[in-house]
Amino acid sequence: MSYLSDVAALARKDLRLELRARDTLPAMLLFVLSTLVVFHFALPTGADEVAAQGLLWVALVFTALLGLARAWAPEREGGALEGLVLAPSDRSAIWLGKSAAVFVFLALIELVALPAFALFFSPLQAEAVLGVLLANIGICAVGTLLAAMAAASRTRELILPLLFLPLAIPLVVGGVGSSVSTDPGRYLLFLGLYDAVFAILCWASFEYVVSE
């Protein structure tokens, strides 16, 4: 219980910081909406649905990347990450709390982005929405760990996409597959497996990312 209360306290802190500073969510929202508008005009009239679904995932992955790049910014200022690392709680709670907060940000963005996609292109099926939710877990688990690794570097803006995008490819494959395939269950299962494997790996390795 104490582990979960640490996670809750850390996630609540991130939500409070975002509500106060408002420097990540508005940027993510503007980015995803403007990207969808650009794609709406860029995609030729009569283009098939598969192409549109692919563009949705491009928009979502890059929007997530924008949020992940800012994820550890409050900890960089004032050295707060060292304060958390010194605390006696399990260090993986820091990663889990941050991942939970990033998940909430991403879900809030998608609450606007998915209806906007339906407006510009075509409505999403339930399987596609489930695919987005499952992919969010993977994006947050892997992205938060990689963002923590990149945060320690001076070239963090460069390193994060280089590390994150290759690992996001399976999520895009699973997400697009769950949207357009005749057998979306296979792709949803694939996304679930990705989430489970990478969440365990990230949970176990965070300690080493924040330790010298």
Partner: protein, 194 residues
């Protein structure tokens, strides 16, 4: 409480701390002095567990929950208030009667009136006072303070003097300073790094 044998730290080819032997008993008060770049901060970061030695052995007889650390950075969230910062750390350190303890520290360090303001609006000295509150919040058995008088005004420095005098003999203190005379009466041992 702290025992080091030939402990050293290198970053690549650069030596940040020369091999050092050190022994500090429980309840001791060690004052570390030395020129800039002599390794004072590195030594404190090693003791706090924020860095790992590249040579020698270092035993610290306090776990993370029993260690209070004040470094060059305040380790605070700039967009949270003083109370929110201390409440977060109080939860993570499982501080009993957290609110009372936070209130007492803020009152003592003259931050009660600004407790609901964001840390980003604080002066450097006020931030340092709050960082001290954070380091003391869980009543650590080992207190590691890196130049704690930095940015404190006369009143703040006197508050810290009184706090250290209260802690002397009960908690173990490891402190670096460029003004060793200030804590000389409390010191049980001294270390000058070259």
């Amino acid at each position: 409480m702290i025992q080091a044998r030939a402990v050293e730290k290198r970053y690549g080819r650069r030596r940040a701390l020369r091999p050092l032997d050190l022994r500090l008993e429980r309840g001791g008060f060690l004052v570390v002095t030395g020129a800039n770049g002599s390794g004072k901060t590195t030594l404190l970061r090693l003791v706090a567990g924020l860095a790992a030695p590249t040579g020698g052995e270092l035993d610290v007889g306090a776990d993370r929950g029993g260690l209070g650390y004040l470094g060059h950075e305040p380790l605070l969230y700039r967009d949270l208030t003083a109370v929110e910062n201390l409440d977060l750390y109080g939860r993570l350190y499982r501080v009993p009667e957290r609110r009372e303890r936070i209130g007492m520290l803020l009152e003592r360090y003259g931050l009660w009136e600004v407790r609901a303001e964001r840390v980003s609006s604080y002066s450097r000295g006020m931030t340092q006072r709050l960082a001290l509150c954070r380091a003391l919040l869980h009543e650590p058995e080992l207190l590691v303070l890196d130049e704690p008088y930095t940015a404190l005004d006369g009143e703040g420095a006197e508050l810290l003097d009184r706090q250290l005098a209260e802690l002397a003999g009960t908690a173990t203190v490891l402190l670096t300073t460029h003004d060793p005379g200030r804590v000389e009466p409390l010191a049980t041992s001294r270390l000058a790094l070259a």
